[in-house]
């Protein structure tokens, strides 16, 4: 077991390295294909060739790619100093590069954005997991009943409604009409939990809507299948009360596959909640990434990609290890 976990962690690190190398190479390759120096991203129009040279030298664009990659990796662990002769910007470890548009190191940008993304993803995940599983279980236990019909019609509606529709509606109703949540601004969980909750409750609902619908359908299908299994009949034949049969024997088995999907969904969501962030004016990783893409801010794009990939790989790892605990048939040989 321990051996398996260690092996998996080492494997995960390798995957993250591969992702960092690939993103790095893509951004190395892109300027080469368009035959422009990446230095142009940093200076204004019609620069002097000497200025270009100076920038290239400052950021190491004149070095071969593997040396640049080495500097990039070294920066993550040891920090980096970017000097142009007159001034030196020190970027402490873990240094993912420096954004001159924000005039800030990428790591500090990410450190500010990550809690927002995490809060958003994890909070919504809890909401959709509870809601989706509840609706799905009730529907799956009585297929064709009115609960099932309402639940599944609701799920179909929720799947069909995009966040840029439900989000503004939620804002309109709860913030502007009912004024239940006036002037919410972001506060971190540790500094002001109540404010934090107020700030995130609407985004959570908007974001979890779609996922809750998917999970409800998935749970319903799994539940229907599980309740037809032979071991459910055995549980009933033992004389167990219905609640025990449904929860301990049925739900336990029906939820196991959902655990896998749940981990991956949360992991993926950490870097990809762009629409929700935009609608609710939150400054998370997704928004950071989109802006960076629009302004061609390479260090940020690479940094966010790396962090998002780490989140996904970590979620996968947690799910795989967790699976060994919930399904005894999985062996870690």
């Amino acid at each position: 077991m321990i051996q398996y976990i260690v092996r998996r962690i080492l494997g995960s690190i390798l995957v993250v390295f591969a992702v960092s190398l690939v993103t790095f190479l893509i951004f190395q390759l892109a300027p080469k294909l368009s035959k422009t120096s990446p230095a142009y991203y940093y200076i204004g129009k019609n620069p002097q060739p000497s200025q270009v040279k100076a920038i290239e030298h400052r950021f190491g664009f004149d070095l071969p790619w593997y040396e640049q990659y080495w500097h990039y990796i070294k920066g993550i662990f040891a920090g980096q100093s970017l000097s142009n002769g007159d001034s030196t910007i020190h970027c402490a470890a873990p240094c993912l590069g420096y954004s001159f548009r924000y005039n800030s190191s990428v790591s500090s940008l990410i450190v500010h954005a990550l809690p927002v993304s995490l809060s958003l993803a994890v909070g919504a995940a809890i909401l959709w997991l509870v809601g989706g599983v509840l609706v799905g279980t009730l529907s799956g236990l009585k297929p064709g009943s009115w609960i099932d019909r309402i639940g599944m019609t609701g799920a179909l509606g929720a799947v069909s409604l995009p966040i840029f529709f439900t989000g503004p509606i939620l804002l309109l109703v709860f913030e502007y009409k009912l004024k239940w949540l006036p002037d919410v601004s972001y506060a971190s969980l540790t500094s002001d939990p109540v404010q934090w909750f107020k700030c995130f409750i609407l985004p959570w609902i908007a974001l979890s809507f779609l996922f809750a619908a998917l999970y409800a359908r998935l749970t319903r299908a799994n539940m229907l299948e599980t309740m037809g299994e032979d071991y459910i009949r055995t549980a009933r034949a033992k004389g167990l009360p219905r609640r025990t049969v449904v929860v301990k024997h049925g739900l336990r088995a029906a939820l196991t596959p959902i655990a896998t999907i749940f981990g991956i969904d949360v992991g993926t969501l950490i870097g990809t909640t762009v629409i929700t962030e935009t609608v609710f004016n939150l400054h998370g990783l997704g928004g950071l990434l989109i802006q960076a893409i629009q302004t061609q801010d390479l260090p940020i794009i690479m940094g966010v990609t790396l962090i998002a990939s780490i989140a996904l790989v970590a979620a996968n790892l947690v799910v795989d290890i967790f699976y060994g605990f919930i399904d005894p048939r999985v062996s870690y040989a």
Binding site: E229, T234, A235, A237, K238, G239, L240, P241, T256
Partner: protein
């Protein structure tokens, strides 16, 4: 449909219902499933008795209603769309009218069931021991430790080596025979007086089969319980049963003592079953004689005798009685009855002169 003689014995319509003497008595049982294609008549007018200390075998092809019958006795159709009618008497109590909650207190306690595929019938996520002690604890207010002790005891009783250690194993860590033993242990944990074994040996290899059957017989002797053994294996029936019900198309076509069924079978379908049983005391040149045709549709049940489309002896009956009229289950000799239009004397001749010599 015509009443069977059994259903005439107890007249429900006049309200004079007297509990039968037998330990378990099934009277005119019908189990119908409404489906999109029509009403599936899985069991249609089945009656039989089981006494304590006896083994009743229910034999028949797949889809003849054997398993559905056993699940009806356990009340497992309650809460599903199945329509169950008729009477199921257990020690003077009529169970078909029982609520799910009333049945629940009997299930696992007084009546227990062994299912046919032990791997899929055991929960994959709980240890074998936990599943057995769960069955014990639901009917007995005991501590977890006491339940564990009892579970280990029954695991030992059914012949699981080092049961205390195997208690914590999961079903997938058991071999097929051990799983079936664990299923039996689970069924026996509360010393039930009625044990229903639904093809308990079908998934097992022959050596293990014999052990499991021996185990069931020993346990029965010990607890004087009644056993219903559902199987399509006539060898198992001959080995273990006292009485036999032969089912075809959801109906009982012949029933009697095991010797009646094997030495004086009285119904073309039973002849066919015996003819299709492989035997070692015969030369290989003597081919098995399968019953031609396929089991009947349970939605469009053949008119007249259910077996008539596959019956080789229809021509022994005057006119088209076999196709037009449903034969009654008629007692030929004490305890031995069959459902057939052929004249009883003719049937005896057919058996002794045409069927028995070729077996």
């Amino acid at each position: 449909m015509p009443n069977t003689p059994e259903s005439d014995m107890i007249d429900v319509r006049e309200g004079v219902v007297e509990p039968p003497e037998a330990f378990l008595s099934v009277r005119d049982l019908h189990v119908h499933f409404p489906t999109g294609d029509g009403l599936v008549k899985s069991v249609d007018g089945l009656s039989f008795d089981v006494h304590r200390g006896k083994v009743l075998g229910i034999v028949g092809e797949s889809g003849s209603g054997k398993s559905v019958t056993s699940q009806a006795i356990m009340g497992l159709h309650k809460g599903s769309r199945a329509r169950v009618s008729g009477e199921i008497w257990l020690e003077g109590r009529e169970l078909n009218g029982y609520s799910e909650e009333q049945m629940r207190s009997l299930r696992g306690q007084e009546m227990a069931m062994i299912f046919q595929d032990p791997l899929s019938s055991l929960h994959p996520f709980y240890t074998v021991g936990k599943q057995i002690s769960e069955a014990y604890r639901v009917h007995n207010d005991v501590s977890k430790r006491a339940a564990r002790r009892r579970a280990v005891e029954v695991l030992g009783m059914v012949g699981i080596p080092s049961p205390d250690r195997r208690y914590d194993d999961y079903p997938h860590q058991f071999s097929g025979g051990m799983r079936q033993r664990a299923m039996i242990a689970m069924a026996l944990v509360n010393n039930p007086t009625l044990l229903i074994a639904d093809e308990p040996t079908t998934a097992l290899d022959v050596t293990v089969q014999a052990q499991i059957l021996e185990l069931l017989k020993n346990l029965q002797r010990e607890f004087d319980s009644a056993i219903i053994l559902i199987t399509h294996d006539l060898g198992v029936v001959a080995e273990t049963c006292d009485d036999v019900v032969v089912m075809y198309g959801g109906q009982c076509v012949e029933k009697g003592a095991v010797t009646d069924i094997f030495y004086r079978p009285d119904m073309p379908y039973t002849w066919g079953l015996l003819g299709s049983m492989p035997r070692l005391d015969r030369t290989r040149q003597a081919r098995l004689q399968p019953i031609a045709g396929t089991p009947p549709s349970l939605i469009n049940v053949p008119s007249g005798c259910v077996f008539n489309p596959r019956c080789r002896f229809k021509d022994r009956v005057e006119g088209d009685l076999c196709v037009t009229e449903h034969p009654d289950l008629i007692e030929q000799s004490p305890g031995h009855s069959a459902r057939c239009h052929i004249d009883p004397a003719t049937r005896r001749t057919i058996w002794t002169e045409e069927i028995a010599p070729s077996l």
